[in-house]
Symmetry: C2
Subunit: 261 residues, 2 copies
């Protein structure tokens, strides 16, 4: 039987709230067994960019990463956010190690080709080095991964944290029983966006199609769920989506939305 | 016989010059055997702080690290500088992993007590976790260490890169034959600061005292050399100081200043 491994993604909205983030980290630290944390960026990058008088350009909800913005996200995601998460986890006796995709060459990508939109320094993942990540886990380390990857040319590239989480889950799924948990500021996938308690407790491909066709599930939730189903198809054992406060309950299937094939 | 290990410190002035930095990284990548890179900060932190309208206060050549400045050095040293060095080394097929002292708990410090000067968020090193660093080396990783440490309370702390290099060298010296090399923008310790070729090829405690008493060696070189001699006393096999372009020559004792007991 393979070893169990949790891959937990924490969203930027939670990171932006110090109290919520501290509660989440305390729960993450107490989660038993092998684990990896993947974090989003939050609003700090946009705030720092504004103070540096760098404009943030968005197209269809995605940030355009020109060179000045790449430097900002490298500083904020790879430095400020990542290292503060690591230091807080260390204080909780959780042996965290902060990584971008470049560190140990764990996540290699290619700069996204320009089609209709030039996204700039954005990386599409080519390869996750599961052996190197397994070696870190084997050294009793808990990887904390920032949403940055690297290319063969030595470029750092901005990469969506949900995508990093699912690609890492799929790669590690070859050797481990992987549970992928997306933690964010809602209690799960909601059937009524106005009602925080309208959590859909279980989603299958059939019910997902039905919710999409009736418009119940829409917008930003769609790429997240598409990624979740793709991860299950590619060997991840279990995917769930829950509130950052419910990580430990979700691990026992007692909260959030569980996604199954 | 113990395994050999190089610990190379690269100064901020070299990092500030992209061409000099690229040449240095190419040499570092081609250095045979186990190795660790420790890097300084450079001027970028001061520049970013100025653009963020954060004042840089210096006392006796040392930066005062208040909370806004701690965030800047965390972003710049731990993020921008560290991750770009790692990505460039990866492109050179050198399996670098960027770390602060918090990552893997490798360098724990205490916030410097306030005496006559309050240096703010500055850490004095308490412990280097040589077992964790050895485990990373054993996983074929090349640690690239930023000048930041952490405290038991989960604080990140600004720590001098020369001090990190010598403390790491001493700790690793218990299990490895450590060569500590300080690379900077001069060809070594100079007997005439106006003449770049006046390199003192060898320094002993006696000749060091003599050069100090006559004022030949002064100012910023003194803490660096005090650290070098202390490292030798504490079990480091060899210490040298050389130009960043001369790393490979220095490894063969063919350039720079060699410090011996």
């Amino acid at each position: 039987m393979s070893k169990s491994l949790y891959i937990v993604k924490i969203g930027g909205n939670v990171i932006d709230n110090p109290d919520a983030c501290a509660r989440f980290l305390s729960d993450f630290a107490s989660l038993d067994g092998l684990k990896i944390l993947v974090h989003g960026g939050g609003k700090v990058a946009t705030q720092i960019a504004a103070r540096l008088q760098i404009e943030t350009e968005m197209v269809e909800g995605r940030r355009i990463t020109d060179k000045p913005m790449l430097d900002v996200v490298t500083m904020v995601y790879g430095g400020l956010v990542n290292k503060n998460l690591v230091a807080q986890l260390q204080a909780l006796k959780c042996n965290a190690i902060g990584l971008t995709g470049a560190d140990g060459g764990i996540i290699r990508s290619v700069k996204r080709p320009v089609k209709t939109v030039d996204y700039g320094f954005v990386g599409d993942i080519e390869e996750v080095n599961e052996k190197q990540i397994a070696a870190l886990l084997g050294s009793n380390l808990i990887p904390v991964i920032a949403p940055l990857t690297y290319s063969d040319e030595g470029l750092l590239l901005n990469t969506n944290a949900d995508t990093i989480a699912s690609a890492t889950a799929v790669a590690m799924g070859r050797e481990y029983d992987v549970t992928l948990v997306y933690c964010f500021e809602k209690k799960g996938v909601l059937s009524d966006p106005e009602n925080d308690d309208s959590v859909i407790s279980s989603l299958t491909p059939e019910s997902y199609e039905s919710y999409k066709s009736t418009g119940v599930i829409y917008k930003g939730m769609i790429p997240k769920l598409d990624g979740a189903f793709a991860a299950l198809h590619d060997g991840v054992k279990r995917v769930s989506i829950c509130h950052a406060d419910d990580l430990l309950l979700s691990a026992k299937s007692a909260a959030g939305t569980t996604i199954t094939l």
